[in-house]
């Protein structure tokens, strides 16, 4: 079998679909390989779709993409055992013709995206696992699949095979993920009638609410939880660093059960029918953990390249953008009749560096280290904040001045004055 394509894309998630679509649309011969039964059956995300990244690929995606709800309200909750303190931002401005964020279900969404890839002219083959890259010396010249006679060749291979990134590992392009650089998230989807979702979250039509959660539910581990409203369901999940799970000796589903039972969460999902349980690794090492992004005849995009902004819970938009930029690199080289050598594919890295993808990762490059070294951000502070609120709101005969003193005292006692100043400084340094 000596069929040769301009490009092979491994994986049909956001990065792979963005890459395959962009190249096929430009007239290149593209083969995309996906191990799932259909695109989406292996893919897991919260999931929030950030419109901008997709708009730059498929401007009219809103016409037929399976979107659940557009987000008009974001809640941030910091939980203690029985309470939460938080902020809300809700705006009718998010009810525009072109909403900025949507909740989605990845299985139907990815299937839709893949349909667009096929329409654009790419050959998409599912139920096919790529087992290794075929190399000629250092140069990647194709892929080997688990199908009989499954060697296929191309001028360039774009690796969008997800967080585990087995192919690049096998080829020696980068090493194994470190447990401290990856979060394990588990989640469930609970189905409820549409009207129930609407009334519980004070929304109408396709308006949606998302809640990002930190605090007691992670047992002091570095991690967060989330709850997203879909049309007729609620997705909720929790994720913490794998190194912390290992240290704490806690099973991830135990955290999920505790989250579901928390008095702030339980009423929101009450009566729901759980229809799926999923787990997924999220690369959260940030800028310092990003591997080499290209080489002779290959580029790597999305989760497999560790392109996740953990601070802002963004990943699929970085995936789509990196997939598109990888594709545009190939298109530019083809136009100039240049080979896909490492020297020429370096443009991909330059394009990523100039985009929000690397700029945002660079901005927070120190944060993962700071969080590892300062677990009290996820244990002590949530408790202090909740207790402070409790103290102030309890009308019990104590004067407010004394209450303030009690609260100040509790902070200083837990962290010391220098500790508090140091924490503030470290957070400022890590996020400025």
């Amino acid at each position: 079998m000596a069929e040769k394509f301009d490009a092979i894309v491994v994986g049909a998630g956001p990065a792979g679909n963005a890459a395959a679509y962009t190249m096929a649309k430009a007239g290149l011969s593209v083969l995309q390989l996906e191990r799932g039964e259909t695109p989406g059956t292996k893919n897991v995300q919260g999931a929030i779709l950030y419109a901008d990244a997709l708009e730059r690929i498929i401007p009219d995606f809103r016409d037929d993409a399976p979107l659940e709800r557009h987000v008009i309200e974001q809640r941030m909750w910091v939980l203690d055992e029985k309470s939460f303190i938080g902020t809300n931002y809700r705006s009718d401005a998010f009810n525009s013709d072109q909403p900025n964020r949507y909740t989605i279900l990845r299985a139907p969404f990815d299937k839709w995206f893949s349909g667009k890839v096929k329409e654009a002219g790419a050959l998409v083959i599912c139920e096919t696992t790529v087992t290794e890259l075929i190399q000629e010396g250092k140069k990647v010249i194709g892929v080997r699949t688990d199908r009989e006679g499954g060697d296929i060749y191309a001028d360039v291979v774009i690796l969008a095979d997800g967080v585990n990134s087995l192919l690049a590992k096998k080829a020696g392009f980068h090493g194994e993920l470190e447990a401290k650089n990856v979060a394990l998230a588990v989640k469930e989807i609970h189905f409820l009638p549409e009207e129930v979702v609407q009334s519980r979250f004070n929304i109408k039509g396709n308006e949606g609410v998302v809640i990002e959660i930190a605090g007691a539910v992670t047992h002091g581990m570095v991690g967060t939880a989330f709850l997203y409203t879909n049309k007729e369901s609620i997705t909720l999940g929790i994720g913490c660093l794998l190194s912390d799970f290992k240290k704490a000796g806690i099973a991830p589903y135990t955290l999920l059960e505790e989250l579901k039972a928390h008095p702030a969460i339980a009423p929101l999902i009450e009566g729901g029918e759980m229809k799926e349980y999923a787990a997924h690794l999220i690369p959260e090492g940030g800028y310092k953990a990003v591997p080499t992004l290209y080489g002779e005849g290959w580029m790597i995009a999305g989760d497999s390249a560790g392109l996740v902004n953990a601070v802002h819970r963004e990943g699929s938009n970085l995936a789509m953008t990196s997939g598109r930029l990888a594709a545009e690199t190939v298109i530019a080289l083809k136009e100039r009749k240049l080979a896909c050598t490492a020297l020429h594919l370096a443009r991909y890295k330059t394009a990523l560096d100039d985009s929000f993808v690397m700029k945002d990762l660079r901005k927070y490059k120190e944060l993962p280290d700071i969080l590892h070294g300062n677990p009290h951000f996820f244990s002590v502070y949530p408790q202090l904040l909740n207790r402070a609120a409790h103290t102030m709101l309890m009308v019990d005969g104590q004067d407010k001045h004394s209450k303030e003193k009690t609260i100040r005292g509790s902070f200083v006692q837990q962290r010391s004055l220098w500790g508090l100043v140091g924490d503030a400084y470290r957070m400022w340094r890590a996020t400025r």
Partner: protein, 95 residues
């Protein structure tokens, strides 16, 4: 006690009978050398179980293909991990 089986029961799988995609390279290492045996509690699908003889057994039928077991086995590298054959394994309905 949480019954992980009840969660996994909601999922759709096409199990590749007789061809587990993950294997413990050397079971002796788990039993004798591994002190933490963290796979037995961190695996979100509860695929790893330790018995009274301190031996770890793996059943991949409920595997969610996350990669956790491979990444946390960083001291012994005792997990031989690959994806199932195309079309097999977990098939997410909603993802």
């Amino acid at each position: 006690m949480i019954k992980i089986e009840e969660k996994l029961f909601q999922n759709r799988y096409r199990v590749d009978e007789g061809r587990p995609h993950i294997q413990i390279s050397n079971p002796q290492v788990c039993a004798d050398d591994c002190k933490t045996q963290s796979c037995t509690f961190v695996c979100p699908a509860g695929c790893y179980v330790v018995d009274e003889k301190h031996e770890v057994t793996l059943t991949t039928d409920g595997c969610l293909e996350c990669g956790t077991c491979r990444v946390i086995c960083s001291e012994h590298h005792n997990v031989d991990w690959s994806y199932p054959r195309g079309g097999h394994g977990i098939l997410f309905k909603f993802g």
